[in-house]
Amino acid sequence: MIATLGRYTLASLREIGRISVFITKGVRCCFTPPFYFREILRHIISIGFYSLPIVGLTAIFAGMALALQMHVGFTRFNAEGAIASVVLIGITRELGPVFAGLMVAGRMSSSMAAEIGSMRVSEQIDALMTMSVDPYKFLVAPRIISSVLTMPFLVLIADIIGVMGGFLVATTLLDYSTGSYITQTANNFELWDVLSGLFKAAAFGFSIAGFGCYHGFFSDLGARGVGRATTSAVVSSCIGILALNYLLTALFFGA
């Protein structure tokens, strides 16, 4: 029993150490040349452009559901007038970044792990090394850079679409007046709410790329190994996003 516990503890510590070394190397490579701009651009398109539809859909439904829930809840306290501000704050501070982060994690973290894992299996990483190309610079750094740069833009779009979703439900289903909803939204708008969400988005981007690359880089050989790496990448990056969300919320808005 104690031996098993000890083995698990040591394995966990080893894993934490390996992740720390990997992330440190990856981050260092983000700031030292050579920079593979073509790779960065490729990943910006892959993460940003191709994730737009799912992020947009998630945001609009989140905004719509939030407006509906707030209407039902606030009616109990005769506070229906606060819906617009709650939707605005809820979307920009929490739901926009977190939902976008989780959706992009599901899409991109798995894709990064699968791509890098397959490159490991098919000796493409060895090929890079024989060409004196640092795999961290060519594979990890461009993904981290593009993910960190792209996520805030995705979240900004998600914020706009999410708030629009709330507006649509409130004005069409719940009989709110268009003018007063817009006025209330504008009056309650605070730049810091949006900015805090964008900072979170950048941190989530780091989690997505970091865990995606890590699990791909150290995937076991064979199809099963790559499959396992893909699953682990999604799980780890989602947990990373939720943990970072709490930490950053406490940092930005904690008492």
Binding site: R42, E123, Q124, D126, A127, M129, T130, M131
Partner: protein
Amino acid sequence: MRNIISINNIHKSFAGLHVLNGLSLEISEKETHVILGQSGCGKSVLLKCLLGIFEVDSGEITVAGISVNDKQRSKEYMQKFSILFQGNALFDSMTVIENVEFGIKQSLKHKHLNSKEIRKIAEEKIISVGLESRVFDIYPAEMSGGMQKRAALARAIAVEPEVLLFDEPTSGLDPITGGLICNLLRDTVKKLGITSLTITHDLKVAEFLSDRVSVINKGTVAWIGQAKNMKNCGNEFVEEFYRASNVISARH
């Protein structure tokens, strides 16, 4: 002729399993050397130790006087080689010509070239391995195994290495394509006048390509000599390997 590759008493083990046990080997400049052995005998590990991908536990590897452990000259060391990987290892995200160009761009020898000159060299190399210009802009996954092998060879020779390494060059190819690739490899090495080191378990490939053959058994070199002398070399393992290879060929 002077030795270009010198492997001296190297050991490598994984989790207590000894894969290389005091292996030593000298390969001369412009020699076409083949390393032959059973699956799992340590051929690929030797290759990865030579490339610096695996660090040896003990022993010394030098190529053209540079040690694999000389971190300050590691880029210079690596650029002595080019390798044709077993699975070709072409980059999926790049077209054929981009793969070849990418190799050239990393080469110290070609540092001064502009993108047009790099493109021209890449095109020449792709044509020289028997591919047509229509493959320039297609992705590796869209090509057959034989075409991928040729494209990988184009990428390998484009950097003008001193040593070309071939890891199981005919693996996964049908006999006709395998024969064509063997001819292409032999002609390419002859034309470039460079050293080549091939790793294979296929005796026919070894006979066809080699000046000298090293047979590896239990992590060390069991025998070195010309392939034609393997049959009666006096080494029990090598003779058995020779007989078994010919039995398989005869059955087919």
